[in-house]
């Protein structure tokens, strides 16, 4: 039946895409809400309390405010580039979301619904390529603003993301060696077959990935591109209204994508904890999507927790850390992993 082609490649992906486009902005609003709340609790404050019970309607009020603001471009800005830069970041963020395997597939009305919208066999590679494009958005936005703080922020973001991308890629490579595949769901399957999460094989890689991930998404303590205390707001100083909110959406999408990638690579994606232990099989009734959301949610919380804890790094410290520590350690990690795989293969066949 040629209907399957239509449903598999057009209708179901389209529905999932629309669902993500509809749900995700709301989700980001509530991530910001949780961020404000958690930061407030860390500082013994209450956080937003006025709009709705416990301030729960605050994100909606904020969104309405942002959407009704005037769309301003500075007089000497390069208007076309200025206007297109936030859109690039947003598109990149949403594209990244499409690659995350969010749960096992299920059957709905006789159709197979796969919860990874795009499952290509080079998923990790594609995700890395897409995520590194986000630097363009920041540089374009910072440059087109024609103002000194955005420009400084843009230059910093370019340098920072390039340096940390190297360490990130080497770290991921070590995991890919273990999995033997570049497909996101393939990596999860490999972890299922191996019977353990790769965090137990790659603890160093896991820590490196977390740190590089924070640097990649420009979050504290590595938020130099937007360092509020020095650069006002970094590359989006001149933005307001919904273009500003595009930058925020893109940044939080990047956080979710990076957390999702981390969960897929090291924590077994949407699998339940200890997938090979029979004793825990009573957990199987919980759908994989729940586990995925829980794990990603934890890392989103972790991002906020870091922000509430650490002061910002100095720029030279950041660069020194990146080039002198993370890159050598990640290369050593890759080397040792490769060696261990060869030795294991030759000993155990």
């Amino acid at each position: 039946m040629n209907n399957t082609w239509l449903s598999d490649y057009v209708i179901i992906p389209l529905i999932l895409i629309l669902a993500i486009l509809a749900i995700f902005p709301l989700l980001v609003g509530y991530i910001v809400y949780v961020e404000r709340k958690v930061l407030a609790f860390i500082q013994s404050r209450l956080g937003p309390m006025r709009v709705g019970p416990y301030g729960l309607l605050q994100p909606i009020a904020d969104a309405l405010k942002l959407l009704t603001k005037e769309d301003i471009a500075p007089r000497n800005a390069d208007v076309f580039v200025f206007k297109i830069a936030p859109i690039i970041l947003l598109v990149i963020g949403f594209t990244g979301l499409a690659f995350l395997p969010m749960g096992e597939g299920f059957e709905l009305f006789g159709y197979d619904v796969s919860l990874s919208i795009v499952d290509v066999n080079v998923g990790v590679l594609f995700l890395l390529a897409i995520m590194s494009l986000s630097t363009y958005s920041l540089v374009l936005g910072g440059w087109a603003s024609n103002s000194k703080y955005p420009l400084l922020g843009a230059l910093r973001s370019a340098a920072q993301m390039v340096s940390y991308e190297v360490a990130l890629t080497f770290t991921i490579l070590a995991t890919l060696l273990l999995a033997g595949t570049l497909s996101m769901s393939g990596i999860i399957d490999a972890q299922r077959e191996a019977g353990l999460w790769y965090i137990f094989v790659q603890p160093v890689g896991f820590v490196l990935f977390i740190i590089a991930m924070v640097a990649e998404t420009n979050r504290l303590p590595f938020d130099l591109p937007e360092a509020d205390t020095e650069l006002v707001a970094g590359y989006f100083t001149e933005y307001s209204g919904f273009r500003w909110s595009f930058f925020m959406l893109g940044e939080y999408a990047a956080m979710v994508v990076m957390s999702g990638l981390l969960v897929t690579l090291y924590l077994g994606g949407w699998m339940r904890p200890f997938p090979n232990v029979e004793l825990l099989s009573f957990l199987d009734f919980i759908p994989g999507f729940t586990w995925f959301v829980l794990k990603v949610g934890f890392f989103i919380y972790f991002f906020i927790w870091l922000r509430g804890t650490y002061p910002r790094y100095r720029y030279d410290q950041l660069m020194g850390l990146g080039w002198k520590v993370f890159i050598p350690v990640s290369i050593a990690n890759l080397f040792i992993t490769a060696l261990a795989i060869i030795v294991m293969d030759s000993v155990f066949g």
């Binding site: 860390i42 013994s44 820590v207 927790w305 804890t309």
Partner: protein
């Protein structure tokens, strides 16, 4: 101050970073200190220096408060008492827009006529309304208790 010595093991295991995370985690679950003002009111210390009041019957128009006030908030005039026995203030103006609530006037007053009340909600729409005359100082200004 030089940074404290750290062993390489402590550096590699991020002990200091983890200590920081532990501290913030503990504070996340501690009770918070915010008082949501219009909805709940904090308990004021008895020594809280709020809006000034003057007891008309006690004041002997000695000018001490006018003299000591660092901001020259107080202007008053007095005359020999008719029936009251001693001097009393004929007029007494206190400009709360200038007052820094230092408490010097309260301290210097020989008969404890001028004193700080526990009121702090003195906002007005007109700056001139912040100048309180003797009647207001005696009775206290119209207090608005904000609820929302």
């Amino acid at each position: 101050m030089p940074a404290p010595e750290k062993s390489w093991a402590a550096t590699a295991l991020f002990t200091d970073l983890i200590t920081g995370l532990w501290t913030t985690l503990r504070y996340t679950f501690k009770p918070n200190v915010t008082v949501r003002y219009p909805l709940e009111r904090s308990v004021l210390h008895p020594n809280f220096r709020g809006i000034l009041r003057v007891d008309d019957d006690l004041c002997i128009a000695c000018f001490l408060c006018e003299k000591i006030c660092p901001d020259n908030c107080i202007v008053l005039e007095g005359e020999k008492g008719l029936g009251k026995g001693s001097k009393y203030a004929t007029y007494f103006y206190l400009d709360h827009a200038r007052c820094l609530f230092c408490g010097l006037c309260e301290e210097v007053c020989p008969v404890d006529a001028i004193y700080h009340s526990n009121e702090f909600e003195g906002a007005v729409f007109n700056r001139a309304d912040l100048v309180h005359d003797l009647a207001i100082l005696h009775k206290g200004h119209a207090i608005v208790h904000y609820e929302r």
